[in-house]
């Protein structure tokens, strides 16, 4: 990590050398480590130090971007020369829009030194648990710290840091069980609880029975809800998708199409998530209501999409080549009932731990997704989990799913998403399973 003074000083020197009307320089440095284990051994164990410098410049209605990890010798100079060629040889089409400076709210600056030893000690305990039950364990523990600094020709100077850890635990024998969670650091993830939940699912999913595909009531646990929300966010919550009329928001903005119990927002400063203070244009993250009490709100903007609607960026820009703002810190507001009570009140339904290979390109507007269940699919009868099921394929509009949410659990978990998402479990009526597999 370079720290705020060094990073901003480097960028301020660099931007002076760029002879353009509009210009922006952004530095992203991160340190990422990951310990991966399978079959009760660590089989991959890696560390990486990355640096990416992004430069965007514009003249009139022309714009261009370069990025590099190579600050050495003539390489950077040559790339900057390329900027000139790329800029001057293009026709006028669209201006490079840059954000104005604004203060960055204070936040808890978290950092740590990633530790392969600490991760190995955790994995050792997970393996001991597997061996005690004559099972194999699989998963990964990662740690990442990073910093983003941005300077632009409108006087913006922004700097922010982030840090998080991510744990995944799977047990596999005759059945399989899986859980994962994001935490502020490796110590904030309760691996004892995480592994117990995964282990119990593995034990309970032995000898799964086949069930016919069809329309069922389902209870989606937080990992499945995270995947559902990721698809809705990717296809629906970006201003770019809305402006191109590829998002459900372009059809329903301002309308109440969900029940009162559905509220989803994005907030990079919410301490119940992972704090990600600024975006890649240096804009502080704003609280954005995406769905509020069932009413379609949103979307999230970067500067380019915001200017087109006479608005300000909400702080959701990604680095080039992406031109597609996305929410990184999602929150699906919890309900009041414990998951156990929601299960006990379900006459017949299917409990889904996790989805696999979900893809909603079939119909991006309805977020019509197909995918599989995995690592713990169970039948609920008369309020009790009665037997494990073989995995099922679903083909289902996720917008319809949100319309059919009957209950929301009070428990929430922080799970991976486009960035991160804090999500509950949900009970959904009329979920469409369209196929089955052999295990």
């Amino acid at each position: 990590m370079w720290g705020e003074d060094r990073a901003l000083s480097f960028l301020k020197d660099l931007i002076k050398k760029l002879p353009y009307e509009r210009k922006e320089v952004c530095l992203h440095i991160n340190s990422q480590e990951l310990t991966r284990y399978a079959n009760n051994i660590i089989h991959q164990n890696v560390a990486e130090e990355n640096l990416n410098l992004y430069i965007r410049v514009g003249e009139g209605n022309k714009k261009v971007a370069i990025s590099t990890s190579n600050l050495e010798g003539k390489s950077l100079e040559n790339l900057i020369k390329d900027l000139d060629t790329l800029l001057k040889s293009q026709p006028d089409t669209e201006e490079l829009y840059l954000p104005d400076p604004e203060p960055i709210p204070s936040y808890e600056k978290k950092t740590f030194d990633p530790s392969p030893e600490k991760r190995a000690d955790i994995v050792k305990k997970l393996i001991d648990k597997a061996e005690k039950h004559n099972l194999n364990t699989f998963g990964a523990i990662s740690e990442e710290i990073g910093e983003i600094a941005v300077v632009n020709s409108k006087g913006l100077e922004s700097y922010g840091t982030y840090a998080y850890s991510h744990g995944k635990v799977m047990y596999m024998g005759d059945g399989s069980g899986y859980q994962e969670e994001i935490g502020k650091d490796v110590d904030s993830i309760d691996y004892e609880s995480l592994s117990e939940r995964a282990l119990q699912k593995c034990i309970d999913s032995k000898n799964p029975q086949e069930i016919d595909p069809g329309i069922y009531t389902v209870i989606l646990e937080p990992l499945a809800v995270g995947e559902l929300l990721e698809q809705i966010a990717y296809f629906g919550f970006s201003a770019k998708a809305v402006q191109e009329k590829r998002s459900f928001i372009s059809l329903y903005q301002g309308q109440k199409i969900f029940k009162d119990n559905i509220t989803i927002y994005d907030n990079g400063y919410d301490p119940n998530g992972i704090i990600f203070p600024i975006d890649f244009e240096g804009v502080p993250k704003k609280h954005v209501d995406l769905i509020k009490n069932g009413i379609v709100m949103g979307p999230v903007y970067d500067t380019t999409t915001a200017v087109k609607e006479g608005k300000n960026s909400t702080g959701h820009a990604l680095p080039p080549p992406s031109t597609y703002p996305l929410p990184f810190n999602l929150f699906f507001v919890a309900g009041e009932k414990p998951l156990s009570k929601i299960i006990s009140e379900t006459e017949k339904g299917i409990l889904v731990t996790r989805f696999h290979y979900v893809n909603a390109f079939l119909d991006p507007i309805r977020v019509l997704a197909t995918g599989m269940t995995r690592d713990g699919t169970f039948l609920i009868e008369n309020g009790k989990i009665t037997k494990p099921l073989k995995n099922l394929r679903f083909t289902q509009s996720f917008i319809e799913v949100l319309s059919n949410v009957e209950e929301i659990s009070k428990e929430t978990y922080l799970v991976p998403n486009i960035g991160f998402a804090r999500v509950p479990a949900i009970k959904v009526l009329a979920f469409n399973f369209t196929g089955k597999t052999e295990f």
């Binding site: 990422q32 696999h356 290979y357």
Partner: protein
């Protein structure tokens, strides 16, 4: 060291020398420089004009039979990074019950580069923009088109690989790709057509000459008209019927249902918690009827223009061609030096890393369905009733690679050996081995080509590989199809 213009081999040797002083059992160093140019015109606007360079090194060590890997962009810190790799290997050793063994490998000193005619990085930017703006305009001139995308992408990778066993390899790779897509959107109905393939088009080893051969402008009007026609087309009815897949879709079918399940690391559980495992377990090798007798699939890293071709993999193993499925029987895996020892074999050279900062893992090369002996026209003409589907729209397959579901951009009715009306939102679904066993005809080599897939995701942290799939259209019987 490490100042000014760097000699990559000498730099690699210096890092290896330092590692030898640290007492590692085995080490390799990769130094990789990548340059990418991406240009996209969207609805008449230059949406993306980006050049990206990335440069750094990755160090992989075996210590006490356990792996450690560390990487950095900062060459001045190579001793610290080497020490980090060792610290990580020592941490890995805490859980290991047996030592990692590597299958023997020939010591190689070599240079390799792929062939091309015109370096795309030297083609004037104006020329590239002219092509994209013309294609874009042609599509937008079709009434009913609401969104257009035209893109080009060029990729250069220069890398060296050095191992403590004495191997020293320099490789230089140059790849080009491009494509166009037209969207017709009406309310909640969103239809699109792409050429030559969806998700950015087609990609291969080669230069600007490939882009010229694609003739993006010449195909722009046709796909735009088809996208508009799809708005008023009926959804494909649900039924069990004969299905013919075009090359682009069949390439992805091969990718998902043969490429991934034959990766030996998946089979051995190394990807279990993330991407999943495989139904092609060890005991099935040599005796499992994967497909019908006409199905022959090879992994071929030696193909001249395949996106998955190379001279040597990222463990220094020479590029090879080996059978995965022969006469319908599953016979082979994609392997690495570590995994091949389990089979008592040598690696067949499929380890690749996504740049300098990631470890090599088993990746597809060019996974090719070998051509059959019937001309494509006869394939259609000999089909009494069925559906012809083209160009992928969505994909999903379970974590053992059995139950799949693919959507395509367009379907054409086949009746009495002739192509008929179009249907929208087509999909097909099935179980991998049942599907391949139902393959009763594969078009001949006249319609065979290798399609490039530049976005294959695998591993943690996620790695994106550039792979290829050689196919010609093929026919499958009794397939479940539908429209949404």
């Amino acid at each position: 060291m490490m100042k000014g213009v760097r000699n990559l081999i000498e730099t690699g040797k210096e890092i290896l020398n330092y590692l030898s002083r640290l007492g590692v059992d085995y080490a390799d160093v990769r130094i990789v420089k990548r340059l990418k140019e991406e240009i996209e015109v969207k609805n008449g606007i230059l949406e993306t004009a980006v050049k990206n360079e990335t440069y750094g090194y990755g160090i992989r060590v075996l210590y006490n039979g356990a792996w450690g890997f560390a990487s950095s962009f900062d060459f001045s810190q190579y001793k610290k990074v080497a020490e980090k790799a060792l610290i990580i290997a020592k941490a890995s050793a805490k859980t290991n019950k047996k030592r990692v063994a590597l299958a023997p490998a020939e010591i190689i000193k070599a240079k390799w580069s792929n062939s091309y005619q015109i370096d795309p990085f030297l083609v004037p930017f104006e020329k590239k923009l002219d092509l994209l703006f013309t294609a874009d305009k042609t599509m937008r001139e079709v009434k009913g088109i609401t969104l257009t995308e035209s893109s080009l992408s060029f990729f250069r990778e220069d890398k060296v690989f050095l191992s403590s066993e004495g191997t020293e390899i320099e490789q230089s790779i140059l790849e080009s790709g491009g494509g166009i897509t037209a969207y017709a959107i009406e309310g909640s109905d969103i239809q699109r057509r792409s050429y030559p393939n969806s998700f950015g088009g087609d990609f291969r080893k080669g230069g600007w000459e490939f882009i010229e051969d694609l003739d993006l402008v010449g195909h722009a009007e046709k796909i735009a008209k088809e996208a508009v026609s799809l708005l008023s087309a009926e959804p494909l009815p649900e039924m069990v019927t004969t299905l013919i897949l075009d090359g682009t879709q069949l390439a992805l079918q091969v990718h998902e249902s043969c490429g991934h399940p034959t990766e030996l690391d998946r089979v051995l559980g190394m990807e279990a918690s993330f991407a999943g495992t495989s139904f092609l377990t060890l005991e099935k090798r040599g005796n499992f009827q994967y497909g019908s007798e006409i199905v022959n699939i090879v992994a071929d890293a030696t193909h001249p223009y395949g996106l998955g071709s190379f001279g040597y993999d990222d463990e220094g193993i020479p590029a090879q061609r080996s059978y995965l499925v022969k006469d319908g029987i599953f016979v082979g895996y994609l392997t690495s030096r570590e995994t091949a020892t389990i089979l008592g074999e040598k690696s067949n050279g499929t380890m690749r890393a996504d740049g300098w900062n990631r470890i090599p893992i088993i990746r597809m090369t060019n996974i090719n369905l070998l051509p059959g002996n019937i001309p494509f026209e006869d394939l259609i003409a000999s089909t009494e009733e069925g559906v012809y589907m083209a160009v992928n729209k969505n994909w999903s397959i379970d974590d053992k690679r059995l139950n799949f579901h693919f959507g395509c951009e367009i379907a054409y009715e086949i009746k009495d050996g002739k192509i008929g009306k179009i249907y929208k939102n087509p999909y097909y679904t099935g179980i991998t081995y049942e599907f391949w066993r139902s393959c009763d005809a594969i078009a001949d080599e006249k319609s065979w080509r290798v399609w490039g897939v530049p976005n294959c995701g695998k591993g943690e942290p996620i790695q994106v590989a550039r792979v290829g799939h050689g196919v010609s259209p093929a026919r499958f019987r009794k397939v479940k199809v539908g429209g949404k």
